[in-house]
């Protein structure tokens, strides 16, 4: 393998190098700013590398006049037995890396108030991001599983990072046990699929499974179902969602931002690739089960969020519902569904990062306890107008109101579902969105109510807290731009379609 062939693997290589450098940097000298910067630079380089992979395809679709100047539209592509780097994986790698960077920025603001060791969180973050990258590229059960574990293991550490806090430790233990159980399910499922087909490569599984018919493929089906169970755990789909609110509540806010976006995105990316390449869409039974999961997630997630007074739990339940919506688009199948999933994940990631970012910036100055009660946000608009504007846009976007990113995502879900006439699912999505409004509005109204004991003054704390605030403002602008001019983003997602559709 020569040097050119390695180029598409650059994001993974750079991230790996970053991890080593960060470890050395921490060993060399403990310094919060310096250690965080090392990781941020590395992740930025990796992000650039993965965005570069997408550029030719994007230019051809969106700005054809520049496509010639940027060189022939050659899709950089690498295939190793375990990993494949194509436009699809480049898109999800970029998403994971951008999320990791945002999390690093938020963590920096958050960890300033932490009294223990602050530097390792960036190391764990980079490790976890590497797992996400591997998953986005995996075409083989081995790399799928390695990526999944690499993604999850550092998360245990991150969730329990505030070791002196009881809730944080409790959350870490819960996540550890349930996540390990889910991994065991996935592993067992893989073994069953392997036993039947004799291959771990997605495409080969698809080819060989075509030969079986009738009751012959029962083992394959059971294997698929077990994998699905494990993935449903990771994506916190009902009825495997029980860990979500507790973990969200206990974990430090920036970690939740990461957990709810990057880790789920990566899992979803590999799920979609598996379904397309292994041709799992032809098993109607599997899709029926997923339909049940989606409807349950939408209904339970929204209903349980209704009366939450804790914003982290509220967002946790809301993320359960949102993955129900994405699953609804997923079930629709076909190129439009792949596109819908991509667009929805993009809008969801941007929105959720902004929402948890606000929680992070609200929490950080208070040290060990997060500002997660809705009460903490009462009248925030009159104290910190920018922060509340960001949270307002984020909540509206989660509710799927036009002019925000969330609407485009919801539109795509509807388009994909209506195209395939999935009326039950579409009804569930509409119903869920309607009840979802209640708690988003309830949270939003809190921001604007005048708390009787709050004097109207600008908070003494700098609301922006430097980079974190700037990034949140950028996210808010991104949410609005996505909502009003989605074309370039649609072009990116279209450019990153899956081959073999």
């Amino acid at each position: 393998m020569n040097g050119i062939a390695l180029l598409p693997l650059l994001p993974i290589l750079i991230t790996s190098a970053t991890i080593v450098v960060a470890m050395l940097a921490v060993a060399f000298r403990r310094h919060h700013w310096w250690n965080a910067t090392v990781v941020a630079i590395g992740l930025n380089l990796a992000l650039l590398a993965s965005a570069w992979l997408l550029l030719p395809e994007f230019l051809v679709r969106f700005l054809p006049q520049f496509a010639g100047a940027a060189g022939a539209p050659v899709i950089p592509r690498a295939e190793t037995p375990l990993l494949v780097v194509d436009a699809y994986s480049a898109f999800y790698m970029s998403l994971v890396l951008a999320t990791a960077l945002a999390t690093a920025t938020l963590s920096y603001a958050y960890m300033e108030g932490h009294k223990g060791n602050r530097e390792e969180v960036y190391l764990l973050l980079a490790l976890s991001a590497l797992g996400g990258l591997v998953m986005a590229c995996s075409r083989h059960f081995a790399s799928f599983f390695v990526g999944l574990e690499l993604l999850s293991l550092p998360l245990y550490g991150m969730i329990g990072y505030l070791v002196k806090e009881r809730r944080s430790l409790e959350a870490a233990m819960k996540y550890l046990v349930l996540s390990a159980a889910a991994s065991a399910f996935i592993l067992f499922g893989m073994a069953l699929v392997y036993a039947q087909t004799g291959s771990l490569l997605f495409t080969e599984i698809g080819e060989r499974a075509g030969g079986f018919a009738g009751p012959d493929h029962s083992m394959l089906l059971v294997g698929g179902a077990l994998i699905l169970v494990g993935i449903a755990f990771k994506l916190s789909l009902a009825p495997f969602h029980l860990w979500t609110p507790d973990v969200y509540e206990g974990a430090p806010a920036p970690v939740v931002a990461y957990l709810s976006t990057a880790s789920k995105t990566a899992v979803f990316a590999v799920l979609l690739r598996y379904f397309v390449e292994a041709k799992a869409y032809r098993y109607g039974g599997l899709l029926d089960v997923m339909t049940v999961l989606a409807v349950l997630s939408i209904v339970l997630g929204n209903v349980l969020a209704l009366m939450q007074d804790n914003i982290k739990r509220l967002l946790g339940y809301s993320s359960i519902a949102h993955f129900g919506y994405i699953l609804a688009a997923f079930i629709a199948a076909g190129p439009l569904a792949v596109e819908a999933v991509g667009v929805y994940l993009l809008t969801y990631v941007v929105t959720n990062l902004a929402a948890f970012g606000v929680v992070t910036l609200m929490s950080s100055p208070y040290g060990e306890h997060d500002a997660d009660a809705l009460w903490d946000y009462r009248g925030l608009f009159w104290r910190r107008p920018n922060l509340s504007a960001i949270l307002t846009v984020a909540l509206l976007s989660l509710a799927g109101i036009p002019m925000t990113a969330g609407f485009i995502g919801k539109f795509y879900v509807f388009a994909a579902g209506v195209d395939k006439r999935l009326w039950v699912l579409m009804g569930a999505v509409a119903f869920g969105s309607a009840i979802g409004l209640f708690y988003y509005l309830r949270a939003m109204a809190q921001l604007y109510l005048r708390a009787p004991w709050v004097r109207k003054y600008s908070a003494p704390l700098d609301w922006a807290q430097g980079a974190g605030g700037v990034m949140l403002l950028a996210l808010m602008i991104l949410m609005l731009v996505l909502g009003v001019f989605p074309s370039p983003f649609i072009a990116i997602v279209q450019a990153s379609g899956l081959a073999g559709q």
Binding site: I401, F407, F411, V418, S433, Y448, I490
Partner: protein, 510 residues
């Protein structure tokens, strides 16, 4: 280009209001007033210079003004604004009531003046967008977009009326009702687009292209229903109306004016513009149900209006009753009835807007909206009671005022096609007379509750009222200019719908 300007104005103006607050509290009001005056002025200019006698739904699609720009080419969505007579009238109404809404909150709103006007103007901008959008995606975009500012208007500047459940509750209820039904409409829109795609292999959200989409009766029926539910909630049609009295009783005066005068009209407009022309056969089939729902609304709204003690709730229920006439008129299928519905929309916007402003003025002076605590007010104000009497008379359909023309045309048009429905609807006129007079009786006659004279209307209030009264009078005496402008689009819809009704009756005949 002028359409883009017209639509952008309130947004830019609203933003300016928000930013100019830092230079002085009064400034946002002037900016908002100026913006809405310019909007109204531009509409009048368009009216004066355009020729509105052309039909849109004819063989070649023709708009009086049009602007189109590709927006999301992936789905064939374009930023398509267009104007014909129907849109023009309603945009004009929006401009007029916008001015009134700014004027009536001059003294009422003292907190966060800039942010208030931002919300008010953005809401009005969304409504203007709804009236001009000719792309279904764009239409839905505006349809939902106008909700958020309205939510803030009610939730932040509303009243916590005694006995009510609070303004945040009312605002949330309003939002959820309209948004939930809106999602059904979004499903129907996407469904329509895919039906069109399957028939022609062209994916587009453009309204003129989607007209005459060939589709099976069952698909047409379901898609029509999706649209109808969204419009029925907003209109409101009776089983789906319960958000309206709550929203009105908690909203600030400007919010009520906006809600009753303009927002409800978007639903009637949607029925006329989208529901009927896109799904004529299903609508014709559905017409009896819709009309009986309208009759139910007329009677129910009027009867409940009797029972109210809160004067704003009373006016809110009369709105339900009046919108029932509009619904009957739209679905009756005759030319006169549809024309009448349009006049009724306009007249009700002005008369209900006027009544809500008057309620606000009474509240500012008495600090109560409870009819039981009023009484004998006639002797304590020189000007206000006769003006209220004028608007109450308009609302009960006194000949010579706009509402009479509208309701009369609706009844006349409906009687030709459905005499029984017309008969039942006419009972609404009797009930309207009763509730209007009872409202007058309870608030202004009888023994006064106090002796000291109350502060009367100032010039600002008198000027707004006088202009609204003049317009109502004009509409009642000489409605022809309005009828002329609205004729072409309404006739086109009516012909389309009439042919579908004809087919239906042929099929029904043995």
């Amino acid at each position: 280009m002028i359409l883009v300007l017209l639509f952008m104005l309130p947004f830019v103006g609203g933003f300016l209001c928000w930013q100019t607050e830092r230079f002085g509290r009064g400034l946002p009001r002037w900016v908002a007033l100026g913006t809405m005056v310019v909007v109204l002025g531009m509409t009048l200019y368009l009216w004066a210079t355009g020729d509105y006698s052309v039909t849109l739904l004819g063989p070649e699609h023709h708009w009086v003004h049009e602007y189109q720009l590709a927006w999301i080419p992936r789905f064939g969505i374009s930023f398509h604004l267009a104007l014909d007579g129907l849109s023009l009238i309603l945009v004009g109404l929006t401009g007029l009531l916008g001015i009134m809404a700014v004027a009536c909150s001059w003294r009422e709103v003292q907190r966060h003046v800039g942010f208030f006007h931002l919300n008010l103007l953005w809401n009005l901008g969304g409504v203007i967008g709804v009236f001009m959008a000719m792309d279904l995606f764009l239409f839905f975009f505006f349809w939902e977009m106008m909700l958020v500012p309205m939510y803030f208007l009610i939730a932040l500047w509303g009243h916590n009326a005694p006995g009510g459940k609070g303004r945040v509750y009312a605002a949330t209820k309003f939002f959820i009702f309209t948004q939930a039904s809106g999602l059904l409409m979004l499903l129907a829109i996407i469904g329509l687009v895919f039906v069109h795609y399957q028939a022609t292999r062209v994916i587009t959200f453009d309204y003129p292209v989607l007209l005459h989409t060939p589709m099976g009766p069952q698909a047409e029926w379901w898609l029509m229903l999706g649209f109808f539910v969204a419009f029925a909630v907003k209109l409101p049609v009776v089983p789906l109306h319960s958000w309206l009295p709550d929203a009105h009783s908690q909203a600030p005066t400007a919010g009520s004016v906006d809600l009753a005068g303009v927002l409800l009209k978007t639903a009637a407009y949607g029925l006329l513009r989208f529901s009927l022309p896109l799904f004529p056969h299903a609508s014709a089939q559905f017409a009896p149900v819709a009309m009986w729902l309208g009759v139910l609304g007329i009677v129910y709204g009027a009867v409940l209006a009797f029972a109210q003690n809160d004067i704003k709730r009373l006016v809110a229920y009369t709105s339900i009753s009046h919108m029932g006439f509009v619904l009957v008129g739209i679905y009756a299928g005759t030319d006169q009835a549809m024309q009448g519905a349009v006049i009724n929309m306009l007249a009700h916007g002005i008369s209900a807007g006027g009544l809500f402003i008057l309620c606000g003025e009474v509240y500012e002076r008495l600090h109560t909206r409870d009819l039981r605590e009023m009484g004998g007010l006639w002797s304590r104000f020189p000007f206000l009671p006769p003006i209220v009497l004028f608007f109450a008379a308009a609302s009960l359909g006194l000949p010579g005022l706009g509402n009479f023309v509208g309701e009369f045309l609706v009844l006349l048009g409906t009687f030709r096609a459905h005499p029984l429905i017309a008969l039942c609807s006419a009972s609404g006129l009797v009930l309207a007379a009763a509730y209007s007079l009872i409202m007058m009786q309870r608030a202004f006659y009888g023994p006064p509750k106090g002796d000291e004279p109350l502060e009367d209307m100032n010039y600002r209030e008198l000027a707004t009222m006088m202009s609204l009264m003049a317009i109502l009078l004009l509409l009642g005496i000489y409605p022809q200019p309005v009828l002329d402008v609205a004729r072409a689009p309404v006739q086109a819809v009516q012909e389309l719908y009439q042919s579908a009704t004809g087919l239906l009756s042929q099929a029904g005949a043995p």
